[in-house]
């Protein structure tokens, strides 16, 4: 092959064409080094192993969350020769891998999001007691989906379960979950959103420790219930949820009541209400009886009083009866039918009638004497 002579720019262009043809995109795994963010937007770092180091360039939008040197990461990108700054790989996608790095990335992200208040208890909202529409985000083929549906159907009824079938692991998982959350929030009403996934390795559960999913859960207008992995696995997205369940089955248990228990409660309430209303009626009856007795007593008291009053009045009238006075030895004297109330009205020789209690007789006035106190 002839030794071709290029101008510098031509060489860069040809080199990039060759790279694009041979390796349009590469995925490299290595230890993160010299990680830095410039002007809040541009990201620079190296990936290295024991013998080599490669430069990378990207933007903050491509970051899976906070990262730091020493973490093991997998980066996909396009290798390029920059006309001024030399060779680098332009980042398309990157994620920490390996249990240690994932845990470290999750810890860094947790600290960052906690500072923003995404996990605060006072952000947690009440989950509706009897949800009518449940938006379920999970894989439709998963054991988690079957466990959740089984418990839901056994416990409660009248629910519409709207399934958004998404991948719950692998690179596409975070975006699919985020889109599903947005879809329910914007286009498809649900009383509550449930996001579930069964157990797995740290890599399998990584989507639920990603910043996008955690922010989508925290930002959901519809209340959220999350159950990711086993009871011991607590993901960041779960911390941001309104309610966390230990497993998908437990999510169904927390979300809906047991209809058998509710039916028993209704029976008990019916019996209690019946007893209360019977007591109420018997109390009212007692009250009526009491009122009746009081009215009777009042009537009796009134009659007694009237009798006493009549007796007293009779005795008073009796005391003023002239016949009673006559009986005590007094007499009424009449002259020509008129009562003689003064000796001045009679003269000696006149005939007067004298009435006693037992009868009357005629009498003749012999002599008239005035009393000392009779001034008339």
């Amino acid at each position: 092959m002839n030794n071709v002579v290029f101008g510098v720019s031509d060489f860069v262009a040809v080199f990039n064409q060759t790279l694009e043809f041979a390796y349009a995109s590469v995925t490299i795994v290595g230890e993160l080094a010299n990680f830095r963010i410039s002007k809040g937007r541009w990201v620079y770092f190296d990936l290295k192993d024991d013998y080599s180091s490669v430069k990378f360039f990207g933007t903050t939008q491509q970051l899976p969350g906070p990262l730091e040197d020493g973490m093991l990461v997998q980066v996909s990108g396009a290798p390029r020769l920059h006309n001024l700054y030399g060779f680098s790989v332009n980042v398309q996608f990157m994620a920490p891998i390996g249990e240690g790095s994932l845990k470290k990335a999750a810890n860094l992200l947790q600290t960052k999001l906690a500072k923003e208040g995404l996990f605060d208890q006072d952000r947690k909202r009440q989950i509706p007691s009897f949800p009518r529409t449940i938006g379920l985000i999970t894989s439709g083929e998963s054991a988690a989906f079957h466990d959740f549906s089984k418990i839901l159907n056994a416990r409660w009824c009248g629910v519409e379960l709207h399934l958004a079938d998404v991948q719950v692991q692998g690179d596409p998982a975070p975006m699919q979950i985020v889109r599903a959350v947005e879809y329910f929030n914007v286009h498809h009403h649900a009383d509550v959103l449930v996001i579930i996934r069964g157990g797995g390795s740290a890599d399998d559960l990584a989507a639920f420790n990603s910043e996008q999913v955690t922010r989508a859960v925290a930002g959901s207008r519809t209340p959220t219930v999350l159950a990711i992995g086993h009871e011991v696995d607590i993901s960041l997205a779960e911390l941001a949820a309104d309610m966390r369940a230990s497993t998908p089955s437990n999510a169904a248990e927390l979300l809906v009541p047991d209809k058998a228990q509710i039916a028993l409660g209704l029976r008990d309430l019916q019996n209690t209400l019946q007893l209360e209303i019977s007591n109420n009626i018997s109390q009212t009856k007692k009250q009526i009886e009491l009122t009746k007795k009081e009215i009777n007593q009042t009537l009796l008291d009134s009659v007694h009083f009237l009798r006493q009053y009549l007796l007293a009045t009779y005795e008073l009238i009796e005391a003023y009866n002239p016949m009673s006075i006559l009986k005590r030895g007094f007499a009424v004297v009449r002259l020509s039918g008129s009562v003689v109330s003064s000796v001045q009205n009679v003269k000696p020789g006149q005939l007067v009638e004298v009435q006693l209690a037992s009868g009357q007789f005629e009498s003749q006035v012999i002599k008239v004497k005035k009393s000392h106190h009779d001034k008339t």
Binding site: F130, G158, H162, R179, Q270, L273, E276, I277
Partner: protein, 67 residues
């Protein structure tokens, strides 16, 4: 046609009736009427628990892209 009542709506209505029955400031006629209403509501709720079925709706949307 009116939308059937949700269990939550029936539960709220029942709670109101029970609270009002227990407030003891109602006359006996009103109490009896409310007791009847509560009994009928309990029957409706029992029928709901017996008859209502869950329904699975698969959302026909591909979440792997923005479209």
């Amino acid at each position: 046609m009116t939308k059937p009542k949700s269990y939550q709506q029936m539960q709220n209505q029942l709670n109101q009736l029970v609270d009002s029955l227990r407030a003891k400031n109602e006359d006996i006629d009103t109490s009896m009427k409310k007791y009847q209403e509560a009994s009928e509501l309990i029957k409706e709720m029992e029928a709901y628990l017996k008859d209502a079925e869950n329904k699975l709706i698969n959302i026909k949307k591909d979440f792997s892209s923005d479209n």
